[in-house]
Every structure is written in structure tokens, then in C-alpha cells.
Amino acid sequence: MLWYKAWLETRFGLAFLFGLYTLVWLVASTGARMAPEKQAPKPQEIAFMADAFAFPFIAAAISLAGTGIKTPSGGFQNQVKGLHGSTLYTLSLPVSRQRLVGIRSAVGLLDTAVVIVVFTLLAWRLFPETGQNTLGERLAHLAVTFICSSTFYFLSLFLATFLDGSVRLSRNTFTEVRAQQPGKSSPLLSAGPEFLT
């Protein structure tokens, strides 16, 4: 049931990202179709475009890390309200903290992987020259993108879990670093390191 809960928590974020990136892709593909014929891009332009694809995925990773095992509110409402109260309900369940963190991390990471794979494939379709030549190269590109995004994913998850929103990579604003009052009532922070036992 923790998988189900984690899915309920991330599904709106995933749907939002799919909607946003699909919109961007549609606009870009329409623009590409309407543009007059151009010369083939230079290698450095291709490299720049390929690198630029990584940024939306980093934003997606941060967004899907959300508030970690603290309960966010559903949809696109303000995520701060209700953050602690319902988290106490989660922590009072007979489940180890490692399992809580593990399952929430896994679901968010899986969502991130889906976003990366789907939109990298769409990007290659739109800009074929940015795609690598062989299947091995394409897989390597996907793997590197995933690993890079995962770094930001876990950083965001770590900050959300341990720092009680003092410094949180917000899902609504993607890369904004929000400075908030450290909450002394955090069950995670107050409990000390044992909360992971």
C-alpha cells in the first residue's frame, strides 16, 4: 500500500510534467515544420542541443522528489499546509523508516525515468541529428541523463526529508531554493538520526 500512496502523491506531478513537456514538444515540432529549409547544424550546435535536453529532466527529477516521505497536499495546491500532521499518521504506522523512504524514492525515481525515456525519444524524433548513431550510444546517453538527473533527485529528496523544508527544491518552482523557517516540530528532525531505523 505504500507503493499506492507514493503513486497517489506523485501522479499529479507526473501528469503536469507530461502535459508541459508535450506542449513544449508540440510547439517545437510545429516550429521545425514551418521553418524554411536550413543547412545541417554544426557539431557544436548538436552538442549544445543534446546538453540542453538534460535541464528539463533535472527539473523533472526535482519536481518528482517533491517532499519526500512528508505528505504533500494533492494536486497543485499549496504544499506546505498539512505537511506535518499527516506525516505523523505515516510515521505512526508499523513500517520502518527505511521502507518508507525507500518506496517513496523508488516511485519518484521510476516516474523520473519514464519522463526521461519518453521525452528523449521524442526529442530524437524531432531533432534526429542529436540522437546518437548506434543503439549502444543511445542507451548510454539515456543512462547518463538518468544518472545526472538522479543526483538532483536524491539531493532534493535529502533536503526535503532532513531539513524540514528549510531549504527545499520546490516542485512548483522547479529550481527555486526556498528559504523557510526551520520547523522544530518536524518529527524527522526532532527524532534525530534514529528516524531512519
Partner: protein
Amino acid sequence: MSDFMIEISALRKSFKGNLALDGLDLRVPRGSIFGFLGKNGAGKTTTMKLLVGLLRPDSGAIRVLGLDTSNPAESMQIRNRMGFVTEDKELYPYMTVEQIIRFTRPFFPKWSIELERRYLEVFELPLKRKIPALSKGMRSKLTLLLAACRGAELLILDEPTEGLDPAATEDLLRELVTICVTQGTTVFFSSHQLSEVDQIADHVAIIDRGHTIVEGALDDLKVRYERLQVVFESDSAVPVRWVEGAESVRREGRMVSILASRNVEALLAQARSIPGASVERLPVTLKDIFLEHVRRN
């Protein structure tokens, strides 16, 4: 097996230098309905969070169901055998009533489907409604359902009736007594409504500034204390000193109200010895005991 569901000794907990609990001692008998009283900031919620293992004590010992809360494995066993209702009754806002019940049920092998059905009917909880759309009363009832249906041996309830209307409060109190009687569940609850505690609790503890100031069976406490109301003929007749045993003496003009814990007969004799004094013995309520101890402390 211990006779006590909860045993706390010399418990201390501070937050950034502010002492929340200062050597708290408490023993909750098995099968009791235990009222946990104190002013705001006395340390009730902190104690409850420590019992559930959400906080770690600075020092002292806590045993719940005979198990040590500081041991992670035992703490998980405790959470498996108890129900906890938080003060704010916050639940997952993205779930419906049906979803949160379905989510919670598998964690507890002893979950009672029968009780779940009964509560859904008695509390008239709308299954398809999202939790934020529930009234405060409905949410309180839902949290009680989620705590009670798990077949818990111990229910820890932080102000379960806060914000409820009198009818809903009555329903909830009645259900707490039923749970205690039919399932043998120990109920440990905090409340600011002393009349509610007086109504259902058989044991109480009053804490103030992080330590216990009164603890015991409610009937024993009521027997132990007595209120004497003495009306004198004139102001000058009121004695300046009373014999030992008066916990508190409050004077309003010619009338003196005395809360006595011992030596009642001697106090009575002293009052009656004053010419023209009329003495009345009054029953003591939990409110009297609470107010006198908290004010004095």
C-alpha cells in the same frame, strides 16, 4: 505480563534548550480509560509523540505494552499494536475516506472489518468524499475508525473531541467506552474538556511544566479531596490560619472555600468552633482538583 500498559519514569525532553518534559513519571493501568490533563504547553503532546516513537527522549525510560520505545524493532511492534490519533487529525488530503481505509487496513492483521462497517454506518462517513472536504467532526470520527478498527490494545488519542459539537462529542465518548469495554483496549487520551474526562475516565494524571503533579484512580482522588464552604457572620470572624490539610483556601468576602486533602474533620471542627459560621461539605469535581493543583504549581 505487566499490569501497566504504559510505564514512564524520569522522562526528560527538551527542544533547543526549552524543557518540555522534566522528569515525568506515569503509569497507565491495563484496560483503563486514562485522562491525561494539563495546561497548554504542559508536555502532553510531546509525551504522546514519545510514546509512539516519533521523538527520542533526552533521558528516562518509556515502556509501552511492556516494550521499549527506544528499540527500533520493539517500537515497530508497539506501533503494530496501538492506534494513535494526532491533535490536528490530519490525514492524506489526496485520498478519499475509502482510499485511506483501504490504505491503512493491510498494515494491521487484526483489522476488524465488522467494526469498520459499523463505524461507517454509525458515523455516517461518506466513502467517496475526499478528506479535505470532510468536516472537523467527520475527520475526528474517521481518525477514530482508523485507530480503533486495527484491533489495537492501546489507543493514544490527543484531544480526540477538540472542535466537535456536543452531539458528536457524546457519540465519540460513547464509542471510546464501548471499545474499552468490549475489546479490553486501554484508552490514553488528553483533553482540555474536564467534564468529558470526568465522564469517561477511570484514571487521570495531571501534568504541569513537564512533570506529573497528580496521578491516580479518579474515584480515589475524589474521595481523597473534599470541599468545605464556610460562611461567616462578619469579615473579622474569618480565621487567618487554618489547621493543616487545606490544599487551598479561597476567600470571597465572608465566604471561604477550602479544598482539603486530609485532616478534614479537624478543619470542620475549626470552622464550626467560630460562632455564627455555617459549614457545608461539597462534592469535589475533577475541575476543582485540576484547577487547584495547576494554580498552586
